[in-house]
């Protein structure tokens, strides 16, 4: 209890305070104060996180119990935080990137009314709070609290401009799809309780391996993975993420690129031991991840909305992370989470800067030639694109390569398909880059005066660009220098058990060199092709045809879901409402009443008012009674 890390509660506390202050005083605070409170609380959290990270790096990990959250019979779920390598790393990403994005937001959202502005920051702070809960939780229930909390904040922020019905629908869709995943998560939690009698990570993992049979573990992990599918936008629950771009761009950067969507990866990394013991799930994860990566990449090829491109790119990158998890490259996935957080946040914020400059025009077809108007944004975006495309020495190269090599070690087919995705990534990113910054401007300059964004926006861009460029060096492959993978060493305590279970196969250095050369070469070729093709892009009002159209329409997946799930469910609702409820059950209930009334109308006719009839009926009754008593043997 005397451990310094007991103070972990401070980390989520600050954003919570920020949320409360901004939320309750939204009508009185000035925008400036709101911004300071909103960003400042995250900064404080970041500082504490850094301090904790240092503690952890020095080998101090801790599970901090605060109070009994739920305690029923033998089941006890404490409100507890776990500070270890994995969580402290995520804390840094969340608070660090989060802080930058808050700062960025103060400028980006400046046009909002002051109470809306405060509402925005309170949501954002609440999100950070939830995300921190998710990461810090020492058991699945606390994680679930954060898990649902971030979903809620995502919902609130996507629907931030609540007057727009489309945005609201997008928000609702995001929440509902997340809920589908959450159900899987919940079921998994119950299953865990059923099997382990606890939800605390350390106690569960202590019982593994051997505590529970593989079949059940497969079930649990699959259910958890369903949760991850929802949160991290994997097939089949990915469609909400592109729609989620309805929210303000910094939100997309923070929630739908850097942090929330990686919660699924965090969760699987956290539960790595269970996954390692369930090879079937691992394969499922890998296949789903890869499929998502490819599918999203293909769609991204034909999108014209700059945020949509980035959104599908995010889905695709998340797919890679799951591929990494699926083939056992936990460190690689976490590494990719980190680098992705940097470069994707960078890209989004850059896109935000562009959108800001273009007065909320998001269609790339109306961009072009912005290079000269927005030099900082251009440069930082270029770094981001290079990073995501996987050009050495930018960070994306290292992390993606680590995953792909691990996939190759697992099965070359995975590698080749993954590589195909990577090539597409390079292509569409530079398509975006070229369409935005190169060539000539395609919209009316008299009305739009593209201009560089203010410092609050560019400084975070620059910082992120530096991180995106340099973060790769935290995980230099053994290929280049032995034992230089710092991250791997740092995370080793977390994944140690899994690594021994999985007994990694290694790819020989020579093969790895060939693979590297192949991929980098092909990617450069792709970039060149994309830039050449799209730098001279001219606005043409021609509809896409054939396969292009399919891609433009996102493989018609939304339509498919609508037809296969949404419509039938609504139809079923209507059917129940009108047919079964009103004409069925209620009719039956009322029918009893009617039957009585009908009986009443008929019965009273017996009362004919005619004495002869009365007596006749009496006599008949007597006859029947006598007959009954004397002749019925009962």
């Amino acid at each position: 209890m005397n451990n310094d890390l007991q103070l972990a509660w401070l980390v989520p506390l600050f954003p919570l305070l920020g949320f409360l202050i901004n939320g309750l005083l939204r009508n009185t605070l000035s925008k400036k104060l709101t911004g300071i409170i909103g960003s400042g609380t995250i900064l404080l959290s970041f500082i504490v996180s850094v301090w904790m990270f240092i503690q952890v790096k020095n080998g101090n990990t801790h599970v901090a119990n605060y109070f009994d959250f739920i305690s029923v019979g033998s089941l006890s779920i404490p409100f507890a935080f776990q500070v270890d390598q994995l969580s402290s790393l995520f804390l840094l990403i969340i608070t660090g990137v989060g802080f930058l994005i808050h700062v960025y937001s103060t400028s980006y959202m400046h046009e909002e009314k002051s109470n809306d502005f405060a509402r925005y920051f309170s949501y954002l702070n609440l999100f950070v709070f939830s995300m921190l809960l998710l990461v810090l939780g020492a058991n699945y229930v606390i994680m679930f609290i954060g898990w649902e909390g971030v979903g809620l904040c995502s919902y609130l922020l996507i629907g931030y401009w609540f007057k727009n019905t489309a945005f609201n629908n997008a928000a609702k869709k995001a929440f509902v799809m997340n809920r589908i995943g959450d159900l899987g998560f919940l079921i998994a939690v119950f299953w865990i309780i059923n099997q382990f009698g606890t939800t605390t990570y350390s106690e569960i993992f202590r019982q593994l391996p051997g505590g529970v049979n593989t079949g059940i573990l497969t079930g649990i992990t699959l259910c958890l993975f369903v949760g991850a599918m929802g949160k991290s936008a994997q097939i089949p629950l990915y469609t909400w993420l592109p729609d989620a771009m309805a929210g303000p761009t910094p939100v997309s950067a923070l929630i739908h690129a850097a942090t929330m969507v990686t919660a699924g990866i965090y969760m699987i990394a956290r539960s790595n031991i269970m996954y390692s013991l369930a090879p079937t799930t691992m394969s499922v994860v890998a296949v789903v991840g890869l499929a998502t990566a490819i599918l999203a990449a293909t769609i991204a090829l034909k999108q014209n909305d700059i945020k949509k491109v980035l959104a599908y790119s995010t889905v695709s990158q998340l797919g890679y992370m799951f591929l990494g998890l699926g083939v056992g490259a936990y460190t690689g996935s976490v590494f990719h989470v980190m680098t992705h957080a940097f470069f994707k946040a960078l890209l989004f914020l850059g896109a935000g800067s562009v959108i800001h400059a273009m007065h909320h025009q998001q269609d790339m077809r109306y961009y072009g030639g912005l290079k000269k108007y927005m030099p900082v944004t251009h440069l930082t975006m270029l770094i981001g694109c290079l990073a995501i495309a996987g050009i050495p020495p930018f960070s994306g190269f290292f992390s993606k390569d680590e995953i792909l090599v691990a996939a190759y070690a697992h099965s070359p087919i995975l590698y080749y398909i993954g590589l195909g995705g990577a090539l597409m990534t390079a292509f569409y990113m530079f398509r975006m880059y070229a369409m935005t910054f190169m060539g000539t401007h395609r919209s009316d300059l008299h009305h739009h005066h593209p201009h560089e964004s203010p410092m609050e926006m560019t400084v975070p861009l620059i910082i992120l660009a530096i991180l995106a460029a340099g973060a790769g060096f935290l995980g230099i492959p053994e290929l280049f220098k032995a034992d230089s993978h710092w991250l791997s060493g740092f995370l080793e305590p977390v994944f140690k058990q899994s690594n021994t279970i999985l007994s990694e196969h290694h790819v020989s250095h020579s093969t790895e060199w060939i693979l590297l050369a192949l991929s980098v070469g092909l990617i450069i070729a792709m970039i060149v092709w994309a830039v050449r093709k799209f730098s001279k892009y001219q606005l043409l009002e021609e509809a896409a045809t054939g396969f292009g159209k399919v891609l433009e329409n996102k493989w018609y997946v939304d339509e498919l879901y609508d037809a296969v799930i949404v419509k039938p469910v609504l139809g079923l609702g209507s059917f129940f409402n009108t047919v079964i409820e009103k004409s069925g059950i209620d009719k039956a209930v009322n029918g009893v009443g009617r039957l009585v009334q009908f009986g009443s109308r008929k019965f009273r006719l017996v009362q004919s008012g005619n004495v002869g009839n009365y007596v006749l009926m009496m006599v008949v009754s007597i006859i029947l009674l006598i007959w009954m008593v004397f002749y019925l043997k009962f």
Binding site: R604, N610, V611, L616, V619
Partner: protein
């Protein structure tokens, strides 16, 4: 005579009375049929009275067993007389109002 004969006779008379009640519409005749039913009962009671008396005589020559039934018949007659006076009064009242003694003539109370 076997008691059964009396039973049968009484039942037959009784049921003829019932049939009369069922088949006629004239209130007075119906009333008469009811009187017939009562008489059938009286006959039966007297027969039973004699039967029980005869049975009791075997043991006791001075027995009064059976008296009660005959007195019962007496009371039935008393009641019948009272009933007749009231019944005929009612029928007359109705006749005064509607000039009819058909039981179906007044048929306002139904359902």
């Amino acid at each position: 005579m076997p008691i059964n004969y009396y039973i049968y006779l009484a039942v037959i008379l009784f049921c003829i009375g019932v049939t009369g009640v069922l088949t006629r519409r004239n209130a007075i005749i119906i009333f008469m049929c009811i009187e017939l039913m009562l008489n059938a009962v009286n006959l039966l009671l007297v027969a039973f009275s004699k039967m029980h008396h005869a049975r009791a005589l075997v043991a006791d020559a001075n027995t009064t067993v059976g008296t009660e039934a005959q007195l019962f018949v007496f009371f039935i007659m008393v009641v019948a007389a009272a009933e007749v006076s009231v019944g005929l009064a009612i029928i007359v009242m109705m006749y005064r109002n509607v000039h009819n003694v058909d039981i179906n003539f007044l048929n306002r109370l139904k359902n």
